[in-house]
């Protein structure tokens, strides 16, 4: 009987932990190697071109990090 309660508590604890982790700012990310095929592809070409053009003319703001 005692064993059952300990086990139930442990499951509850693990469940709570998973729930907390799911809600934390840093998400749980499952690594899927099948997605590597996209790594060197430009998936959003039009958007990237627009971004490059905009950044070429506007540049970057001053970063506090590198100030």
């Amino acid at each position: 009987m005692m064993h059952f309660f300990v086990k139930e508590k442990m499951i509850k604890f693990a469940y709570m932990k998973i729930k907390e982790l799911n809600k934390s700012k840093l998400p749980i990310v499952r690594i899927d190697n099948s997605l590597e095929k996209y790594k060197n592809q430009i998936l959003f070409k039009g958007k990237l071109e627009k971004a490059n053009e905009m950044l070429r003319t506007v540049g970057l703001p001053k970063s506090k990090k590198h100030a």
Partner: protein, 148 residues
């Protein structure tokens, strides 16, 4: 940000993510990419729907799957994951339409306090960057993870 979000998958370098949106229109696979720009350490954030038959990605489609908050929260979560692995980078984002950019601005405004705890955030207006302010219409956004 205590919003519900979808489970994420990514390739090992965390530059491409995938998740599945679920709603009245069924399951829609979405891809998020942090694409390298012509500028060092500056990545363009883009996401769109993946056509499971052709494998093509469409960033202009309006899914109408009644889960836009959850989708946006999931995309924001990818920014946390990406900048956690690549800490010094800048991330640039804009919507594919004005109304989408506005939607992103509203999302950023809503959670600004939490975002500013971890990121420097800028908005682009009339060809210039400024520190992101509430109530200002921006054409694009840039963020960078703060130092610990």
């Amino acid at each position: 940000m205590k919003l519900e979000r979808y489970e994420l998958k990514a390739e090992p370098s965390l530059t491409v993510f995938e998740f599945v949106s679920e709603g009245p229109k069924g399951k829609i696979t979405k891809l998020v990419q942090f694409g390298e720009t012509n500028f060092k350490d500056l990545y363009n954030l883009a996401f769109g729907d993946k056509d499971l038959i052709t494998g093509e990605i469409d960033d202009s489609v309006i899914s109408n799957n009644d889960d836009s908050d959850k989708v946006l929260a999931t995309v924001v979560a990818t920014v946390y994951a990406f900048t956690d692995k690549h800490s010094d980078v800048w991330v640039y984002a804009t919507g594919s339409t004005r109304s989408r950019t506005r939607l992103y601005r509203m999302g950023l405004t809503k959670y600004l306090t939490e975002i500013l705890e971890e990121f420097d955030l800028f908005g682009q207006k009339k060809g210039e960057w400024e520190v992101f302010k509430k109530g200002v219409e921006y054409d694009a956004f840039l963020c960078q993870r703060k130092n610990d």
